[in-house]
Symmetry: C2
Subunit: 200 residues, 2 copies
DNA sequence: ATTGTAAGCGATTGATTACTTACTTACGAG
DNA sequence: CTCGTAAGTAAGTAATCAATCGCTTACAAT
């Protein structure tokens, strides 16, 4: 069955995301991808000249969808105080809907072997941090968050917590309700961001 | 140069930790290990019957040293309120001294391919969580930490934050001062643990 | 209808992988 | 001194990997 190049490329990207959710990086050979899509292994190289270009396309896909979601919420309706916890929940829901994403973004091929892919992931994280930093600053301006808070540092720590959480979820083979953990994160973070620091 | 089996096994474990710090999982072939130790590649299999048994030994090494450190501080001198931030600092210092550890513990071979290794890592994390949970409960008993805090959930979130932080450090090729981040973590976590939650 | 383009495939290649086999040799206990 | 054990090696194996090559064929625009 013959399909257009663009269509096949999308199928390949989706196949990689699905395979990553099931088996991780080890099951991500061009052979496995070809089998999943239903084409011969060499045909994969008609659409992507190298294997890394496939992963690049996948990371682009993630970047577009994830950052699109985050920015939509960060600049959406309601106060910053309301939007930040909503962002946590929505982001964890998004990841829960695509369990392959963390296994790809945390994989060695991405951030140890290939400097190019590593840079792409770095850009996604930097964009995320910048967006959330802005959101926190907005909350400080509206008086919801403490003014003496380092907005960028806080954004980075929240990202670290999400990543650690998602990693445990991925290691545990998705055996707990990830979006439900958003509340727990907010329970820990909110008091530190909203209450004045207690004297010594 | 002929050495005893035990001596060689220790050399091999150290070689793996060093290689992981330098190049990650991809540079971790039995050939690379043999070259680093200074023996022929098949000789590696005299000391470990399979490659996974090498990784198992490495994880055991990490488990012994890391948990030894954590438990020593968790049950050491001073109030729980003092010991918890000290534990964060000391742990990040330990990891900074052994940059290969996160790359090994977060590698795919460990927690996707081999269920046995995965289980070992899971036990380390479970032990860490249990120890810190106990420490937090102690702090609650002495009145330093809020009584309405879920100790285990908090311990898990702190671990998640450490893991996310260490992962960013590892991805960035160790380009920032990891132990210095302990203060930032504590700045975020402490207010949430010590101050009463603000009313709605 | 013709034809250029691009998707598709079978066969293969060279590199790398963990691991085996058959043999040698160092060395400590008796 | 000897001799069994265990550390060492060179050579090789089967598997898997990304990527190449030569060829075919579907299809859309002319």
């Amino acid at each position: 069955m013959r399909k257009s190049g663009e269509e096949r490329r999308e199928e390949i990207v989706q196949a990689v995301i699905d395979l990553a959710a099931e088996g991780g990086q080890s099951q991500l050979s061009t052979q496995a991808i070809a089998d999943r899509v239903g084409i011969a292994q060499p045909t994969v190289f008609r659409h992507f000249r190298t294997r890394d270009l496939i992963l690049q396309a996948v990371i682009d896909w993630i970047s577009r969808h994830l950052l699109g979601l985050v920015m939509a919420i960060a600049t959406g309706n309601g106060s910053a105080r309301e939007r930040l916890p909503r962002l946590l929940t929505r982001q964890l829901e998004f990841i829960a809907r695509h369990p392959g994403l963390p296994r790809l973004l945390f994989s060695e091929r991405v951030h140890q072997d290939s400097p190019v892919l590593k840079q792409s992931v770095g850009r996604v994280m930097a964009n995320w941090t910048r967006t959330v930093t802005e959101l926190i600053r907005e909350g400080q301006a509206e008086g919801s968050f403490r003014a003496d808070l380092d907005a960028e540092e806080t954004a980075r720590l929240i990202l670290a917590m999400i990543q650690g959480l998602v990693m445990r979820w991925s290691i545990s083979d998705f055996q707990f309700d990830l979006p439900a953990q958003a509340e727990a994160v907010w329970r820990l973070v909110a008091p530190a961001m909203t209450s004045p620091s207690p004297g010594p």
